[in-house]
Structures are given as structure tokens and as C-alpha cells.
Symmetry: C2
Subunit: 155 residues, 2 copies
Amino acid sequence: MDNAIKTVALDELAVGDRFLSREFPLNTEQIKAFARDFDPQPFHLDEAAAAQSFFGGLAASGWHTAAITMRLMVESVPFADGLIGAGVEISWPRPTRPGDVLHAESTIIGIAPSKSRPDRGIVTLQTDTFNQDGEPVQKLVSKILVFVRGAGGLP
Amino acid sequence: MDNAIKTVALDELAVGDRFLSREFPLNTEQIKAFARDFDPQPFHLDEAAAAQSFFGGLAASGWHTAAITMRLMVESVPFADGLIGAGVEISWPRPTRPGDVLHAESTIIGIAPSKSRPDRGIVTLQTDTFNQDGEPVQKLVSKILVFVRGAGGLP
């Protein structure tokens, strides 16, 4: 019996296909740990400094929101050879805060088979990340390299 | 005496201003640790699986390259009220590999003062991340909210 999640390859995808992630709860310690490693600015590290800043309180790095979104995409978008990004556009319409519970909703908005290499193509995926109040905290459009079944090298 | 790094505010910036980061050495354990947390795909976690994949060997998550680049930007782009991103565009022209030594070169390519709020504006910053061979591993264009001196809330 095959207990693995069913994967989909390029020839099995359609514009409009949607993928919903699980929920991801985010706390203060995670926000500060990511910021210490990758975005050590006062509004991501210190409540008092953040209260005086543009954010008006502690906020996660946008790159942390992006990284969490990628985790949720890896778990919920079952492309057979993985998610290999060629490029992305991101906007952060509002901050992610301690205590937020995030989830990601992904929709295929474009499929462009390669003209020169028939085993692959570029899928354009729109992924919106929402907090527990249904407010978008990140809007992401990704160009993802996708292969036809068996061409991408992963088992 | 003021030993702090000299900062610059919106009214002190010009198109063409450039900022060069330090070097950041990246190893296998860092690549796998980031991938375990945020991008658990075989080509970021396992040498044997990566060798069979599109990447032909272990590669860092593009989001790891982006997060490292942010760290280098925070250290090298001295905007007085920090780096507050409204949105970005990213492409990854080649993978980042274990043993790579990265640095980031940032250039102001646009300054748009707000028409409604004279204390702030949007600075467009192009940041290219290079490996030790001078090859670009990431191209980033960021829209950053920047304040005139004293308006952004940070001390």
C-alpha cells in the first residue's frame, strides 16, 4: 500500500487548482530567534523599541513570514519534484504579530510549458498568507519550475 | 563622542548611493538547519537525494539566501529608521552551495517622496548577492519605507 501523499506533475495541473495549508501558530520567541539570526532590527527584537517604531509593537520580520509561508507551501503544494522557485514577488500588507496563527492559500494562475524542453514548464502560483482574523499578511507570486511525471529526478 | 554608525535619512539619500556588505560564509549545517525549519525538501537536506535532483547537489533554500541577504543589508544599509520593506521582487539565477561565501551590493535606484505625507517616502533598492566567484546567486529589488530625519520613531 502507498501511504505517501499523492503528488501531481506538470501534465496533471490546471489553472485554478487550489491548495490549502495547515495553520501555523507564531510566538514571541520564534519572532525574536529569527530576527537575531537574519533581521536584527529593534522592532523585531525588543517590545519597548517596537512600540516607539512605525510598527507600534513587536512585529515579525517579513522574511520570517515568507519562510513560514514556504514551510506551509512545502507541506500543502504537492508538486512531484518539489517547489523549485525561479523568482517571486512579495508584498506585506500588514505585520505578522506574536500570537498570530497563519495559514496559506495557493492558487495556480498560470502554466507555461517550455518550448525548448518538453519535460518541464513554469507554473505561476499565487500564495496569500492570512492571520487568524482572515487578514492578509503576505501576498506572494512565485514562478516555479515543474516537470512532467518522472522527469525531475526525485523518486 | 558618538561611536554609533552614521545613519542616513530620506532627505540625505540620492539615487546611485551604494552600500557594500561584509562577507558571510555558509556551511552545510546552516543550510540543513534552515531547511529543516522552513524548506524541508530533499535537495536542501540530503546530499544523495540532491545529487539526483535538478540541483545536482546540495543547495540552500532560496529563502535562506534571501534571509542571509537581509542580515547583510541590515548591517550595511544604514537607513536611520531601519529597513521596513513594503514589497520585493527576487530572482535566484543560480543555487547557493555549501562553502559559498556571500556578500551583498545594494544601490538606490529610485526615491519617491510621499505626496500626502512629507515625512516619508519609498526608496527602491537593488541588492545583488554574489558568491565568492563573483557569480550572482540572488537579485533583489526592494521597496523600502524611509523617513526624514527624526520622523520614524527609532532613537
